[in-house]
Symmetry: C2
Subunit: 550 residues, 2 copies
């Protein structure tokens, strides 16, 4: 009996629209329906935002986690033909074919479909879309597009259940996770992953070596190519869209970590290092990489080449071990691409701000501009409990330089396992980092949301401001702590200034006057202002000053 047939398991998941918005589908060619989250404004206008939440936020959708989500991509997958034996987005892109996924993504990103195809063709962007995961809504990871974020989930040995993991996935995508990595271990790995895949609107990533290790009772030395290969095939068949493979951990690199402050901190990396030491040979991930490519190509699963030797502290950043592995990942990228398999490259970790640019430069140079996918990096080691913040600083910086996807870090990093609130905090924090980078890259769509929210703030449209924010619930609750009254949300003042006067109100007066009189020269505006000033003077405003800002 599969998990989906087990009636006793019936996860409760969060459904319904996010406050102040509702799901809308944009129509595209070939009956494409591209979801966006539409924020209706009090001005009568609306603002559409990129939406990762799937049918769960669609008030009209019927959610049955036993049935799973509709197989959105099934007809596309059934209809098309391989190119020279390869049925991958890379193969089609190279052949000049614009797939339905590419058209879907073009609408979603607000760019031309040809840009999507050409970026995929040159390997600078990837579309993680296993043909066995038709439920996922197509998305793209590449420096020419919106910066994406990943949320890590997975039941650890004893702490959580299948139901909790499905809800965590739904919860993470509700707040903006573009992909989810299922790092489940211990009991029910296969079953948990099945539930997540069948119900996930976003691509799912895994680290197959984790499950393979379970199969050999947790002893790295007992791992073998056969056990690993069978595990990869099992996961490909289930629909995993991208897999982290630590194939760059070579035997001769392991000693380079001996003098580090924090040695090897990647679990995958340490597992492979343990195997290399146990057998005193190069790992099967490296020696059997071509065979691995053949398997992933058959399903169009994307490689996420893992940085098993990434630095785990500021002291170890950009060191010989890290960079030696990165060079090897570049060689493996070329091998995979030659077989039409999509590739992205994982990055650190812990890196001080002045060493971040070099990480991006070398990754692009050595790995043929494959999309960079980094964990943070943390810009300092000294704030356990706040590593979502230490890493968001590094993440925004590295994404502004061209990193395509950011793996989130929660407040529990280094200390424990994230709960539901930690997952939301991690996702929102990383949406901030990704958006700050989109602004820095001057993505055509990025600033529109800032401008809409700031205009609402300036015009005292409080609810519009909250609804346009990344977390309307939190913004509203913070505001209500000071001014709970409903009228306060429409009044022309804020909790920090009095009702008759505030810093924004006076400039609003200035602007309205200037506009009303169609003033053009500074002199004319000043003249007008002296009049306006008398009105203001006679109104005798009262200032109550804030304790924030100068």
């Amino acid at each position: 009996m599969t998990a989906l047939e087990d009636r006793s398991v019936r996860p409760e998941v969060t459904t319904g629209p996010i406050r102040g918005s509702h799901k809308v589908y944009l129509d595209g060619p070939d009956d494409l329906r591209v979801p966006v989250r539409r924020v209706e404004l009090s001005t009568g206008e609306h603002h559409d935002v990129y939406d990762t939440s799937g049918p769960y936020t669609d008030a009209d959708a019927t959610i049955d986690v036993r049935a799973g989500l509709p197989a959105l991509r099934a007809p596309w997958i059934a209809a098309r033909e391989p190119v020279d034996g390869a049925a991958t987005q890379l193969a089609w892109a190279r052949a000049g074919v614009v797939t339905p996924e590419m058209r879907f993504i073009a609408i979603r990103e607000g760019v031309d479909a040809e840009l999507v195809r050409s970026e995929v063709a040159r390997g600078r962007a990837v579309i993680p879309a296993n043909r066995c995961h038709p439920e996922a809504e197509p998305m793209i990871i590449g420096k020419s597009f919106l910066v994406k974020i990943n949320a890590n989930l997975g039941n650890s040995a004893v702490t959580s259940s299948i139901e909790e993991e499905v809800e965590k996935m739904v919860w993470a995508t509700r707040w903006g996770a573009d992909t989810v990595m299922d790092l489940s271990t211990g009991r029910n790995i296969h079953e948990t992953r099945e539930w997540i895949l069948r119900n996930s609107p976003v691509p799912i990533g895994t680290v197959p070596i984790y499950q393979a290790l379970e199969k050999v009772d947790g002893d790295p030395a007992k791992l073998s190519w056969e056990v690993y290969r069978d595990t990869v095939i099992e996961q490909c068949e289930q629909g995993v869209d991208y897999m982290t493979v630590h194939a760059g951990v070579l035997l001769r690199y392991v000693p380079l970590t001996a003098k580090r402050v924090t040695g090897i901190v990647s679990r995958g990396g340490s597992i492979m290092a343990a195997w290399c030491l146990a057998h005193h040979r190069e790992s099967f991930l490296y020696t059997r990489f071509e065979e691995l490519c053949e398997i992933l190509r058959a399903y169009d699963v994307t490689f996420s080449l893992g940085d098993g030797l990434r630095p785990g502290s500021i002291a170890d950043a950009n060191d010989e071990a890290q960079l030696a592995e990165l060079r090897t990942l570049g060689e493996l990228t070329a091998i995979a691409r030659a077989r039409d398999v999509q590739v992205m490259i994982e990055g650190p970790g812990h890196v001080p701000l002045h060493k971040i640019a070099e990480n991006v430069r070398l990754e692009e140079e050595w790995c043929g501009e494959a999309p960079f996918y980094t964990l943070g990096p943390l810009a300092t080691d000294i704030a356990p409990g706040y590593d979502h913040i230490t890493s968001a600083i590094g993440a925004a910086t590295i994404a502004a330089r061209g990193t395509a996807m950011l793996c989130y870090v929660t407040p529990k990093e280094h200390l424990g396992l994230p709960d539901r609130d930690d997952v939301k905090t991690g996702v929102i924090t990383y949406k901030i980092a990704a958006h700050a980078a989109d602004l820095a890259k001057e993505h055509p769509r990025a600033q529109a949301r800032d401008d809409a929210l700031s205009a609402a703030r300036f015009e005292f449209r409080w609810l519009d401001q909250f609804h346009l924010s990344l977390d309307p619930d939190t913004a509203l609750s913070f505001h209500d702590e000071t001014l709970p009254a409903e009228p306060a949300k429409t009044a022309h003042f804020c909790s920090m200034c009095g009702p008759k006067f505030c810093s924004m109100r006076i400039t609003q007066d200035v602007r309205e006057y200037a506009e009303a009189h169609g003033l053009t020269s500074v002199e004319a505006i000043e003249a007008g202002m002296s009049e306006k000033a008398e009105e203001f003077t006679s109104s005798g405003g009262r200032v109550q000053l804030p304790i924030v800002n100068g």
Copy 2:
């Protein structure tokens, strides 16, 4: 009856050492005693960190808020002579005099006293130290030194009391605030400030126009040079160390804000704009600036030239209004320095990452490298409720470029008034941003703490890791949520890996072996490892994999 004589007012403040550390005083020349917070490690070593908390964290100190703190600087102030009529740190520095404050700071920063003197002499650093505030421990603000942070406090119209404000000041400095701005308004401004000054171990800043406005019933048009002058003198006499003066808001600049998305968002800026419009003249802050310099010089109060026209949104960053005012601040800086008055320059606000470098470049070029003191800046507008994070991203970035002090932003920014928890969150978040910048600037002392904490993490010295962190209480509580047992804090495993094996443990094995055999060449290390590997294999470790990291 003054506040200090009023026995009915007796604030309760937080005292006692921060977990895992205790106060130590380093002896210097001339009986200098420089406070540091000493973290005792389980290895028998200790790590000293910069300490802003004053006597409140000294277990041996007797705290009586009615008596105030000891007048640390009184004998130095009594002993010295003016230079050409000027008794300011700038005047002495220019005359080649190394003051006791400079010697104190040199020990505190771990640099040569001559560097302190020369940086002050060229105006690239300031020492805010009003001769009427002898209780404060000397500190320096300049790009050649550790990045500093400011916390804004102040009772607003109805929400808080004197007792609460004194405790908030103590609370903010406990967690690392280098200066505190008292932005109190409404009732008891003078009395509240008196309590804060007499009990503050850090320099206190104010925005005098706020109190002046109270004196004219909150009507900007009724403000006058006389009312403002008297207010400044009153505050100088009380001991305010630096004052925000929005003297760069010129009448002709006001119209430049008319087309902005968010107009004028600085309260001081909007007050002066209102005055300029009401009188259709340049403000008295600008026309009487020389007289203002004479007053501040008499007390060695430092100017913090305010950016009244700073951008309040991404859309308005680096615009004509902002830059026009910055040029004027540069002119005013020269006027003040000619009179031996110290100056720093306030900066934005809201700036996208790609426009931050230009802010620092222009400020240094136009304002003679005066220390830059910025509010954030926020790197995006779309996350109300998380603006401590949006601004920490901008703050770390601008500080890495040379900004000397960062004004914190709390989660309540734009929404309401920060409570005690918000103040702590704001301070810790900004310590992270400041430290990330210190690392990027390769400050000699910055990385030592990261290395000490990472070594503790790698060696499973859990309590050492927590005690070396910015917030030991939070790190410990997060850890205990997963592994409450006391032994877990000394055990060689973490909540994310099993007891026999984890990614750090294996590299620790590798390192120990390499060190034990004094191996030098990669071959030798590999040879050694194959042995070590057998030991490892026979030990049959068990991995329980984490749900964080790849």
